[in-house]
């Protein structure tokens, strides 16, 4: 123990307090108890301060408070010494403690006055309360805003068919928000999962490559964009775009990534469709030109360049009047207005002027271009060079005229020939008659008979010439075909022939179901009459007899038939009977032109005529009309 410490605790020369005159012992004890009580209090307060300081390290001015605690402790120790000296007169220690307490008091006082301005700047408790209240209100506002933002974000994600995600580097877990769950075709809930769960959803075809990119992007911890295809649980494939960016804490440390996944399947399909249309427009041989509502060219394809000679960059931005001859401008403005009112104009024929000034006959169609709200924002015109077509139309017309002329010449020729052929027959028959008349009915049969033969032969020959003329006319006499009920025609025929047939003891039956036929009604009536008359002549050897008119429809043809139950036509003659002047034997009447006429008429209808055996014996003549008329216009014009 050093000498000076021994000296402090040395009590030599002092006597304990009891030896000093305090009067009665009551006052001594009062003094001792009060001193000890003060000491206890002075010791307890610094202890409380120490506990407080340890528990609340963020208390302002902690060192000042420690000093204050020490000052209190030392003050307390002087009071303790006041009591102790009654038993142990360590006045030196007491003096030292008092000295220390005085020093601590001075230091504390100095520190207190030094800190006072700062302390005074601290807000009062009331103002702190007010501030707190204000802060909590602000916080409530912020929270409301946060909720709103979150709702907005959700709405935006829903509208953009997108879902949100976040990734935390420390937990290595992915947060899948409900919006994203929905996009993945999963129950619309919040979930956490691993990166591998995510990768497992990528289309197997590109999974490996995509996984590498994901690993790279996550490792790099910076903003990224990726695009791949995912497979939903139901097997549907969707194209998605994934965007991510870093999440950092207040200190700027990157703690994770967050971002969105957007479903771009529809965009992709639209883009593909758009590209497809663009390719069609680009490659179309026709001129395809888009105009804005004022008539300024906005699109110009290769077909337009080929037709008019202007390159795209020369014409886009110019008014389309550059192409329209002056006299056609009003007409075109009219079409443009009509198209902007969402009418489809054309196809119609008009004229345009090319780059070289040449007039081009074109066929034009104009249609409105409408936006998503169905508002016309421009006009698309499709234009086609028809000069070649016009040339060939002119050529065709010329050929038709030539043909008509030839046909007329032929008609005249035939008329003349038949007249000239018949004229001598008139003379022969006439004079044979004159001679027969002159010699009178009493002349010898040997003279009268040859004269009669001459007359008959001349008559027969005249008949042949007439028929020949008639056959040659079929197909050149253009009656327009029409669509009508074959049954009505058959009924008409039945009525007209009823007397004749009744006399011949022949019944004409008409089947219940008869098709509608596209034909020349006059010709068809002639044919049916011809066939019925043939059937009556050759198909009814045993009376009373029956003839049936009927019909049926196949996929390609409408067929009519006339059926008898007579001897029938041997198979080897079924074609031959359609030839001119062919008859089976000489038994029956007629010139032998009926079926030839029928066949010619059917040829003129682009149809067929043939003979079949009636199943129960007899002849059935079929007429087949094609269902597709050669000229569709005739259906409209034929009436």
């Amino acid at each position: 123990m050093p000498e000076w410490i021994r000296l402090i605790f040395d009590t030599t020369g002092f006597t304990p307090g009891w030896d000093r005159p305090f009067g009665s012992s009551f006052y001594v004890w009062l003094h001792i108890i009060a001193a000890l009580t003060i000491w206890a209090a002075f010791t307890a307060v610094p202890l409380g301060i120490a506990v407080y300081l340890v528990r609340r390290p963020d208390t302002p001015f902690p060192r000042s408070l420690w000093l204050f605690a020490a000052f209190l402790l030392l003050c307390g120790s002087t009071h303790l010494m006041n009591a102790v000296v009654y038993w142990w007169p360590a006045f030196r220690l007491s003096a030292l403690l008092r000295l220390l307490a005085a020093a601590a008091s001075l230091a504390t006082m100095a520190v207190l006055f030094a800190r006072l301005p700062q302390l005074l700047r601290f807000p009062s408790l009331a103002s702190l309360n007010a501030q707190l209240l204000h802060a909590s209100e602000a916080r409530a506002v912020l929270e409301r805003k946060l909720v709103e933002r979150s709702k907005l974000l959700q709405a935006a994600l829903a509208a953009g068919q997108a879902g949100a995600w976040s990734y935390d580097f420390s937990s290595r877990r992915l947060n899948r928000y409900p919006s994203l769950s929905k996009l993945f075709g999963l129950p619309e809930t919040h979930a956490t999962e691993t990166l591998n769960d995510w990768i497992a959803r990528i289309d197997p075809e590109e999974r490996e490559a995509a996984a590498e990119l994901i690993a790279r992007d996550f490792h790099a911890a910076k903003a990224f964009t990726a695009r791949y295809r995912i497979v939903q649980p139901d097997g549907e494939r969707r194209w998605v775009t994934v965007r991510g960016d870093v999440v950092a804490d207040a200190a700027g440390t990157v703690t994770g990534l967050a971002g969105i996944v957007a479903d771009v399947t529809a965009d992709r399909a639209a883009a593909i469709e758009c590209a497809r249309l663009a390719a069609i427009v680009r490659s179309a041989p026709d001129a395809i030109i888009a105009l804005n509502p004022n008539g300024v060219v906005t699109e110009w394809n290769r077909g337009a360049q080929a037709l008019y000679g202007y390159a795209e960059e020369e014409i886009v931005g110019s008014h389309v009047d550059r192409l329209v001859p002056k006299l056609r401008r009003d007409e075109f403005r009219h079409h443009l207005t009509a198209a902007l009112e969402k009418c489809i104009v054309g196809p119609l024929e008009t004229v345009r002027r090319g780059r070289d000034g040449r007039m081009l006959p074109i066929e034009l169609v104009a249609a409105p271009i409408v936006d998503a709200d169905d508002v016309a924002i421009g006009v698309l015109t499709i234009e086609r060079d028809i000069s070649q077509r016009q040339d060939s139309e002119r050529e065709l017309r010329a050929m038709n005229r030539a043909l008509a002329q030839r046909s007329e010449e032929m008609e005249q020729f035939l008329t003349t020939v038949s007249h000239d052929l018949k004229s001598p027959l008139v003379t022969i028959r006439g004079f044979a008659g004159v001679v027969a008349d002159e010699i009178g009915p009493t002349a010898p049969l040997a003279v009268r008979d040859p004269l009669q033969r001459i007359e008959r032969a001349a008559e027969r020959m005249a008949g042949l010439i007439d028929h020949l003329l008639e056959v040659s006319r079929i197909g050149r006499t253009p009656n327009r075909p029409a669509l009508f009920e074959s049954k009505a025609l058959a009924r008409e025929l039945q009525a007209d022939l009823s007397d004749e047939l009744a006399r011949a003891q022949i019944t004409l039956e008409i089947e219940d179901a008869m098709p509608t036929v596209f034909a020349d009604p006059t010709r068809l009536r002639q044919m049916l009459e011809n066939l019925v008359s043939n059937a009556a002549k050759y198909g009814c050897p045993k009376l009373p007899a029956k003839i049936v008119v009927g019909g049926e429809e196949t996929d390609a043809e409408v067929c009519l038939y006339v059926r008898d139950f007579g001897p029938g036509v041997p198979e080897q003659f079924r074609e031959k009977v359609f030839q001119l002047f062919q008859r089976l034997g000489h038994a029956g009447p007629g010139a032998g032109v009926g079926l030839a006429i029928v066949r010619r008429m059917m040829q003129a209808h682009n149809g067929r005529a043939w003979i079949e055996a009636t199943p129960t014996g007899g002849t059935t003549v079929w007429l087949a009309f094609p269902k597709e008329p050669l000229e569709p216009d005739d259906v409209l014009d034929g009436q």
């Binding site: 007249h419 004229s423 027959l425 003379t427 022969i428 044979a432 008659g433 027969a436 005249a462 003329l469």
Partner: protein, 155 residues
């Protein structure tokens, strides 16, 4: 052919014909048929339509007897039979004269056109000589029934 008088019909009248026919042989046959029943029938024959019209108009102009019947061929040099027919039937002074078309053409178009132009009959040659004569006899008989006053003195 017989022409009977046992059905109390008046006797047939003599008729005057105008025959417009370019073919001499055909004209000869018609004239023989017309003359055959020898009842004073007369025929004026011309070889083309212009001459036929001129004859008709001259007769009308001179107040002479008009033909009772015109026999008209269709195929004629110059203006054809259709035209002559139209002209006769559009002339108020001539239109009442019956016109019988005598032609080699059996064409429907010719027949329709002739009747459209108010032809009274259409006969396709060759016709049986006896049949034709019968027809003419029937016609003259018909005329006797009609008995126009201007021929009452010429019967």
């Amino acid at each position: 052919m017989t022409f009977s008088t046992d059905n109390n019909l008046p006797p047939p009248q003599s008729l005057h014909f105008l025959l417009i026919e370019d073919d001499d042989d055909h004209a000869e046959i018609v004239m023989r048929a017309v003359g055959m029943h020898r009842m004073g029938n007369s025929v004026h024959r011309v070889a083309d339509g212009g001459a036929g019209l001129a004859y008709l108009r001259a007769q009308a102009h001179n107040g002479q007897r008009q033909p009772d019947i015109v026999l008209l061929d269709l195929k004629l040099p110059g203006r054809d039979g259709h035209e002559i027919l139209r002209e006769i039937k559009s002339d108020p002074a001539l239109r009442q004269i019956p016109v019988i078309i005598l032609t080699t053409s059996p064409a429907e178009a010719d027949r329709v056109k002739a009747y459209d132009n108010l032809a009274n009959s259409y006969i396709v040659k060759p016709i049986s000589f006896s049949g034709f004569r019968q027809m003419l006899a029937d016609l003259s008989h018909y005329w006797s029934l009609w008995s126009p006053p201007h021929r009452s003195d010429s019967g």
